[in-house]
Every structure is written in structure tokens, then in C-alpha cells.
């Protein structure tokens, strides 16, 4: 409870709420796209470096590898469940349902960061390899979702004109967040704490502050997404955006019971499972399933699930993690 309130009253969350409120009140203010993109790259560099430096001091044990594999499993499995639920409870077609489910299997790196802060505020420790888990969870969900979407098609659909072999793989494997996150992780690993000392004022010192500005923008983005898009979503679809993260979190919690994982890391793994992508997966869906409607999956992931996770979800996930290790 205290954690929940401390999280809610941290500047990061308050700026998110400010942005969301301003957007819902139809303020015209905005953060320039270029600045938001620049901050997104910065945040991923910072997270990657931090994770890499931490990993440099801890050997890659079997325990760690088990957690990495669990992440991949969650990312690949959750979309199947999400797809079944969506087809059963909403009026989304096969393609839309598959596209939405890809988002819920994949992860949101900002939710991950917010959870890392909340974990720290709760006095728990988390380890650097959770960043690697996050990176690994980005893409398996896309594969599952494509199988689900294409399974229902009578025969292989004709290619869109101008499509090129390998463009989807390149997009999925070499998008900015994979390149920067994994790249910075490796750089942190190579350079270690000593080698990265001179860049820490930038990547650690001002990190929390930049996050405030970024979350202000996320709030504007989520609020506007919600205001423009909620009409295209039925009530059951909106409902899905609220309970699906909890469902994923419970599955991850179950898994944590059998994993050799600390409380802090468990909270992060649960959060990753619960979080939904809103940058990398939408881009991949536009290439792979262009007939799926972005207004559905973006509104749901960015306008419904992201605010839910950041404001209410994270304290719940930390609580779930405490059950595991209790």
C-alpha cells in the first residue's frame, strides 16, 4: 500500500498524469517528435548500459539462463492466450485479434523502467540481466501472432507490391530499440563500471529527470490516443486492455514460483509480461499485417494498458512478486 502511494506520488508518475490530464482536457501542448525520439534512444542506451555493467560483475549462471528462457516463453505464449480471449469475448476479426495479441506478448520498455524505479523505491534489488530479458521478450510475440493470423488464411496471401524479402526480419531484428538496447548492453558489458564511469553523469545522473519529461510526453500521447480512439473500441475490447495485463501478470507469477529468481527480478518479469508494446510491434504489424487496424491496437496498448500499468499495475506486480518469494 505504501509502495503504491509512493509510486503514485513520484514525480515520474505525476508528470505522466499531468500529460494525460492535459490531453484529455484538449490542451494543444506537445513535445516535439524529434525530442521524444531522442529521449527514447537516450533511455534505451541508459538502460542497456546499466544492465550491461551489472552483468559484467555477475557471471551468466544457469539460473539467469532459465529466467531468459522464461521471458522468451512468456512472450511467445501470452499472444496465444490473448488471441483466444479476444476472439471469444470481442468482435475483433482474426487479423485484428492477432495483431492486438502480439502487442501483449511483447513488452513496453518504459513500463519496465517505471517498474525498476518502483522496485528500487520498495527497497528491493534487481539485476542487470533483466534488461536482457526485456530485449529478448520484444519479438517472440510477433512470431506467434503472425502464425495465428496467417493460419486462418486459405492460402499464402499475395505479397504487397514493393515488399522485399527480409524487410520484416530486418525491421523486427534491427529496429531502434533492439539495436540500442542490445548494443548498449554489450557495450556496458565490455566497458564495465570503470570504462563507463565517465558517461555515468549523463546516463545515470540525469536519467530520472529525463524520464519525467518523457513520461509527460507519454501522458499526452496516451491521453490523446484514448480520446481519439476509444470510440472505435467496444466495451469488451477496452475491458481486455484492463484485465489482460493482470492475466499475463498472474501467469508470470505462477512461473516465478518455479524459477530461481529474486523478489525484485520477479517483479520485473511480471511487469514485462503484463506490459504491452506500442512502438516496435505496431511497426512490425504495419509491415506484416497491414490490414489490421492501428486504431484498435494502438489505442488499446498505449491509451488503456500503458496508463493502467504505470499508475495501478506496477504496485500490484510488486505485490505479486512478494507472494512468490514469501
Amino acid at each position: 500500500m505504501d509502495v503504491a502511494i509512493a509510486t503514485l506520488l513520484s514525480p515520474i508518475i505525476l508528470f505522466f498524469i499531468l500529460g494525460m490530464g492535459a490531453a484529455l482536457l484538449r490542451s494543444q501542448m506537445n513535445v516535439p517528435e524529434a525530442v521524444a525520439k531522442g529521449m527514447a534512444i537516450y533511455l534505451m542506451m541508459a538502460i542497456g548500459l546499466k544492465g550491461g555493467v551489472q552483468m559484467a560483475t555477475n557471471p551468466l549462471t544457469l539460473d539467469v539462463i532459465l529466467v531468459l528462457l522464461s521471458g522468451i516463453f512468456l512472450s511467445a505464449a501470452i499472444p496465444a492466450l490473448a488471441f483466444v480471449i479476444l476472439r471469444a469475448t470481442t468482435n475483433l476479426g482474426r487479423t485484428d485479434a492477432a495483431a492486438v495479441s502480439a502487442h501483449y506478448g511483447s513488452i513496453s520498455i518504459v513500463t519496465f523502467v517505471a517498474a525498476t524505479e518502483a522496485v528500487r523505491l520498495s527497497g528491493l534489488d534487481s539485476s542487470g540481466h533483466m534488461v536482457a530479458v526485456a530485449a529478448l521478450m520484444e519479438t517472440p510475440a510477433i512470431v506467434t501472432a503472425l502464425i495465428l493470423a496467417l493460419a486462418g488464411r486459405p492460402k499464402a496471401a499475395d505479397e504487397v507490391a514493393g515488399a522485399e524479402r527480409g524487410e520484416l526480419v530486418r525491421e523486427v531484428a534491427l529496429n531502434a530499440s533492439v539495436v540500442v538496447l542490445v548494443g548498449a548492453l554489450i557495450i556496458g558489458w565490455i566497458a564495465g563500471a570503470d570504462g563507463t564511469a565517465s558517461v555515468q553523469p549523463f546516463f545515470t545522473g540525469i536519467f530520472q529527470g529525463v524520464l519525467c519529461l518523457f513520461l509527460l510526453d507519454m501522458g499526452l500521447s496516451a491521453g490523446r490516443g484514448l480520446r481519439n480512439g476509444w470510440r472505435t473500441l467496444g466495451a469488451t475490447t477496452v475491458g481486455f486492455g484492463l484485465y489482460m495485463p493482470v492475466v499475463s501478470a498472474l501467469i508470470a507469477t505462477g512461473l516465478c514460483f518455479v524459477l530461481p529468481i529474486g523478489q525484485g527480478d520477479a517483479a520485473l518479469l511480471i511487469t514485462l509480461a503484463a506490459s504491452a508494446s506500442y512502438i516496435a510491434v505496431p511497426a512490425a504489424m504495419r509491415l506484416a499485417l497491414p490490414e489490421a487496424r492501428p486504431s484498435v491496437y494502438l489505442t488499446l496498448s498505449l491509451g488503456v494498458t500503458f496508463p493502467f500499468n504505470v499508475i495501478l499495475g506496477i504496485p500490484i506486480y510488486i505485490f505479486l512478486a512478494s507472494l512468490v518469494t514469501a
Binding site: 513535445v31 517528435e33 507490391a161 510526453d217 481519439n228 505496431p282 498505449l302
Partner: protein, 101 residues
């Protein structure tokens, strides 16, 4: 001055490269892409700034070429626009140095 045609293709950013390949394949000698700020279509307004996902981002592509090449490009553009979000229009223009197009 020489008579040519001008294609103006407004298309979602993720399909930009596909459109480029189609234009190049049709023999058009050049094109230029412009950024967009926002717009309206299908009953929805969108706005580039503060849409962190970039999900509804569009680009405007302008290509000037001979009527034959433009016609050739349009078949494939029609195919792309069957799958992707976008609008295309063609108009008549006059150019200098007509042999370049």
C-alpha cells in the same frame, strides 16, 4: 517546357520503402518525400507530434515523370494502397529539361 505528370502519394510511413521500390521499378528517374504533421481520414484526426508510437505517421511522396512511367507505377501503387493506408493523385505539369524524366 515539356508535358509530364506528377504523382503525389500520401502513404503511411511504414509502407514508404515499399512505395519507393515500386516507383524505382517503374523506371521513374526520381522522387522526393516530404514529412507530414497530421491529417484526417476515415473520420479520425491524427497529429504527428506527441504520438509516441508513430503509428499514424504519413509521408508525402512527389514524383515527376513521363505519362507512361507514371501509368506503370500506378498499377503497383494501387496494389500497395489495397493493403496500406494512403491516397494517390496524379496531375499534369510542365517541366524544364524534359529528357531527365
Amino acid at each position: 517546357m515539356y508535358s509530364k505528370q506528377r504523382i503525389e502519394l500520401i502513404i503511411e510511413r511504414m509502407a514508404y520503402k515499399r512505395a519507393c521500390r515500386v516507383l524505382e521499378a517503374s523506371g521513374l528517374t526520381g522522387y522526393t518525400a516530404l514529412p507530414t504533421l497530421g491529417g484526417f481520414g476515415g473520420g479520425n484526426r491524427w497529429q504527428r507530434d506527441t504520438d509516441i508510437s508513430g503509428g499514424s505517421d504519413m509521408v508525402a511522396i512527389i514524383a515527376i515523370g513521363s505519362p507512361e512511367r507514371v501509368t506503370k507505377a500506378l498499377t503497383d501503387i494501387e496494389n500497395i494502397l489495397g493493403a496500406h493506408i494512403g491516397v494517390v493523385s496524379v496531375s499534369d505539369v510542365q517541366v524544364l529539361r524534359g529528357e531527365r524524366f
